[in-house]
Amino acid sequence: MAHTRRAVERPLSPHLGIYRPTLTMTMSIVHRITGAALFFGTLLMAWWLLAAASGPTAYAKVQAFTGSIFGMLILFGYTWALIHHMLGGVRHLIWDTGRGFGPAEREWLTLATLVGSVGLTILIWIIGILFMGGSR
């Protein structure tokens, strides 16, 4: 053996790999991923606000980006991440009070945040497109 001082094989507490994936577990991971995505998404918000403060030329560049297919995809993802993280946060706030931990409750709470975030995101985009008159 190459290593003379081999680490002792102590039992480890079970981690992600050993559990069957559940909805609450998946949504917990998604909550963190959407949080991290929103962290970097603030770059877009800062760019947008600074462009508005800079002038028409800078603002036109933001509008060209948000009007492109790629920009719209980013914005759609941003909308969903924002709404999902918000609803997931509300669920965590409910859990913080010690409520909603029953087997049925925790499942429907978690499912509600997922269904709610997808539904609200589509609703926001429908309102948004109607507000713009269908085209720009």
Binding site: M45, A52, L93, F131
Partner: protein, 130 residues
């Protein structure tokens, strides 16, 4: 006393130095306070953005510089920057265990301040039209 004290240490002495990190539930609590603030602020922010869709620069700048919109977005920016500062720190602490950890935690702080201040500067400029 009706309940049995588990040790000779009083509850006060246990909380006096606020645990091993000496900050107690400070991080947890600030994460929750900003989270609660962000729920209504996010909803209003989304409506403001919808109202700005498709408008040209002059109209957008005027709306963004109006008191209600500017103040609401400023509050949204402050709460968001603080919330993501705390949140990203936890993510770094969970996954990075090398010397890189301190550097990343510092970068996280710088990023959140740069984003927060940039957005606030833009909104102040739009509000006062300098």
């Amino acid at each position: 006393m009706s309940h049995k004290q588990p040790s000779m240490r009083t509850p006060l002495s246990r909380v006096r130095f606020l645990g091993s990190a000496h900050s107690g539930t400070d991080h947890f609590w600030k994460q929750r306070v900003t989270a609660v603030a962000l729920v209504p602020l996010t909803v209003i922010f989304v409506f403001i953005v919808i109202g700005l869709l498709g408008r040209n620069h002059a109209a957008a700048a005027q709306i963004l510089g109006s008191p209600f919109v500017a103040i609401t977005i400023m509050l949204f920016v402050i709460a968001s920057a603080y919330h993501m500062w705390l949140g990203m720190q936890v993510i770094i602490e969970d996954y990075v265990h090398s010397d890189l950890k301190l550097t990343l935690i510092m970068c996280n702080t710088f990023f959140c301040f740069v984003i927060g201040l940039s957005c606030l500067y833009a909104l102040v400029k739009l509000s006062f039209g300098v």
